[in-house]
Amino acid sequence: MDIFKRLNRFYKPYQYLLGISLVALVFTVGLGLVYPYLLSLIVNKVILAHEFNKLGLYIAIILIASLVKGGFNFTQQYLGQVFGINAAYDLRNTLYKKLNTQSFTYYDGVHTGDLMSRLTADLDAFRQFLAFGFNGLVQFVLLLGFGLGLMFTMNWQLTVAVLVLMPVLAFVAVSFDGKLWPAYKEVRRSLGRLNTAVQENIMGVRTVKSFAREDHELDKFDHRNDSYYTANIITAGLWKKYFPYMELIGNMEVVIVLLFGGYLVVTGHMSLGDLVAFFSVLWYIVAPMSQLGYQLNNWTQSVAAGERLLEILDAPDEITTPVQGYVGEMQGLVEFVHVSLAYADETVLHDIAFSARPGQTIALLGLTGAGKTSLVGLMPRFYDIASGAVKIDGVDVRAWDLAALRKQIAVVFQESFLFSTTIFANIAYGHPSATIEDVRRAAAMADAAEFIEELPDGYSTLVGERGLGLSGGQKQRIALARAILADPRILILDDATSAVDMETEYGIQQALQQVMKGRTTFIIAHRISSLRRADQILVLDHGRIVQRGRHDELLREEGLYRTIYDMQFQDQGLMPPAGEGNLFDSFAESASASASAN
């Protein structure tokens, strides 16, 4: 009950609907007994006592009662459902909002699949209990109370006889449902595995065919197809085991009523009409009895589901905007003052100190896991630091208004993510009101305009999960256009051009130099060619800055930078001085010439 209390802000506003629904439910159940009662009157008074003039009245009452009961029943069901749907609506909106403000640390620790199952299956289990689970339990109690009450008034001995088997029925029903849930879970699990096998097979079809491994894939599929079949057969086995018993117990009740009730009529302890009515009431309560297990399970499932939803809702908001945060126009002066960062117990960055002036380009180089991505993520406050300070324009980022801070910094992530919409809307993601011209200009600067305009639908082309498949380099260029359009004071490129060829990358960098004039750029890259023109290169190793300086300075030092350079140079070293002398030398000259021109 505690779980429901903690979630009550979602259903409290709609509790009046449940209230009306419950009142309607009482009437529905009550009016349901009119038919069995009138049946006994028709038999006793009309047929046996020959009071034919009452028949019309009785039939009219049956019809009217059925109509009125229908109205109540509709109200009961409909309002109960609306109660559940409305609460689920509020809950879903709140969950969505919560998820969109969670910190990056939170997402580093959760799986998309797990969150999705909470947002879908758990939310629905919770809704179901509100929508009909609660009503179902109340209805069960009412039916049992009213039904048995009517039976007692007609004949208590027969009622007692009928009651003997009821607990058996309830027991069978409850234990059946207890076993059914795990069985269905297994059905879903094996379906999930089958699904994975098929999905992998289709997505990896090139690999399958090129290794001629179709037979292996068929075996794998057959195996999982069999498991799914078996899980279904096991579930059917449970039905086979329990359902006939429930049916049999219900039928045995009929035999009891017929035998014992018949005896009571024969011995004059009961009227024939009451016996007929008894049959009718019996069916009225046997059906809900066999549903008892389902109702109880619905309750336990919803409690577990509620708990999982609360875990999302109660997760602490780790990164929040300060009260009256700084909202000034950003200049782009970045200072890292003895910054350390830790995830859980592991220190990722140690004593990072540097500063970047507006107009500068800062490059970060280092092996995978050196801490480059973590470092740049501190500026838009994707993570908060353990000690030291990150300042922008002299203001600690934790004192900046969060939205103002992030709106003036644009990040192009390592994995370019496109949403399911047009290319236009993807580029305009950070600036939805952008004009067509703006978008086009940003695309051109990211060297994306050409390929986009060659597409049959141009900027209206749908991309994302079900849209057109773009190459890695094309996705990266769209993500870059998105960042350019956001008109940032600080631009962060986290290995953002890894999938485009060097020629294109060079062009993009030239264009960026224009856009980022007077602004601050951070570049993470593996290719020396991508970062050699930077004003400052920071070489990271195991979370520390081990070297810093410009390209030519770093080349003169012994160290990681030279090692990496040599490794990449080795590749080119194989080039012979083809034709007009050494191409590399001429490039190095022109590069250093352009660097000094800055």
Partner: protein
Amino acid sequence: MGDFMDKKFAGDPTELRAPFIYKDEEAIDKPFRMDQMRRLFAYMTLFPRLGWASLAATIGGIAVSLIAPYIIGVTINAAIAKHDVGRLVGYGVFLGALYIANFVASRLRIRYTNWLGQSVIRHLRGQLFSHVQALSFDFFDKRPAGSVLVRIMNDVNSLQDLFTNGVISSITNLFTLIGIVIIMLSLDWKLALITMIIVPIMLLLSTKLREMMRRSWQVVRVRLSRINAHLNESIQGVRVTEAYVRQAENQTFFQGMNADYLDKFRRAVGLNAIFGPVVDFTGSIGSALLFWFGVHMLGAGGGLSVGMLIAFANYTGNFWTPISQLGQVYNQLLVAMASSERIFQYLDTIPSVASGAEAENLPVLSGEVRFENVAFAYDTKKVALTDVNFHVLPGQTIALVGHTGAGKSTVINLLARFYEPTSGVITMDGHDICKMNLHSLRAQVGIVLQDTFIFSGTIMDNIRYGRPDASDEEVMQAAREVFADEFIRELENGYHTEVRERGSRLSMGQRQLISFARAILADPRILILDEATASIDTHTEHMIQQGLKVLLQGRTSFVVAHRLSTIRESDQILVFADGRIVERGTHGLLMGTKGYYQNLVEAQYRFMA
């Protein structure tokens, strides 16, 4: 320029700026078609024993449900009304025995109908999967993986209900209905006809109202799947959303789709809540008619007894279940029409590349390859290769060079016979590969793709994919040879590390190293390799360079090359432009020509450090 802009931004302006667009699934139901239905039900005849057993068990159950009300009626008339305790006990025991027989029949029915249905589904899915597996690349290139998955999984599953319950229960229900009608007519034909007035009403309700309900639930489901698609994407792209501070706009969008869902859900629930009361009231009309006329017939002395009137009331009550279930089966059928049409469409697709009946096995190759006047077009409009000729000696390494779309990938596709040339001949050791057994060809041609596909399982399993019978030691040996061993050992469980979600834990470079190990384990006579363009962590890149050298040794290799070192070391460079070979020769030779290749190299070179 103006014209051009107009065209590129043509179409629905609201769509251009739509924050998110989610396309819905294909048609959900289709009109009834007899030929399709016959083809569908032919699957049941594959399991005749299960079919007959289900039917027999079901008919047992029907018999009981038909006889029981009659026994109760007779008991009231002949035993209770006549105060005959002996007969009462007799009838009661008989009824009890009948119910026990029904208990047995129920168990058998549940067992056999499920066996039958699940067997049909398993068979159909197996057939569909193995057929799709045999289809050629043009099939997979034309459609997203998701839509193929939906057919094999969801479309087949949607037939499950029809085969487990639908068919058997509709036969059962028809028998039950006919049985009830016959019994009622024989008890009292006049009263029977009067009470049966409600049957058409019930029939109409159970088909039409149910159809409306099903439709509105479908609308709800479509809305829900949009919501789920959006939620999924929001979680995956949450970093972008937070970085660009898009929360407010997205919240508005989401609340909009959530409210729409709420609205559609309410409508469906409303229809659902009407159904019960309407059915209930129709039943009451039936009872009212029965009692009104029945009681008067009792009084008129038409031979009708109290017991029979009660029996009639019970039979009328039993009308509803079979009719309701028939309506359900009718709706299941409409859904099945749509999904089976999609399934059959796949089953009727003929693989465009397949081994002919008399295809010979390719003998063990030395590795000589020849393209003679090869041309290829993916479709009639787009010519991908024109007049390609080359000759490769065993053991040579060939570098394929050119811009994106120049025809390099097409050459790869033709070499592995993923596609067949539109004209011209490709031979290996003198055998036309299009006339050879496909399996024997691919067993000798290995391919390393740019983006390596990783299957869920251990690293060991993934490398072993190249040769299933390889021992653990051989797998590790292969990894060592191509320098993949080092990073694998650093993983938490080494070779037994589980990789999931398509190897997302591994970097691009690491995935490529795994595919090198896979290829060297398979030890193909001819190797096709698509070098990764992406920049890779320097250390891993170094390993890849080393591994590549090992991999190319001792076999004919075709490399779509991006690294100058790879190109330079090749025996022959084929330069492609617009689907033709424009230059060929060694690096030294081509660098002197001031041609296309030299231009390409110098352009690349300019940006390298």
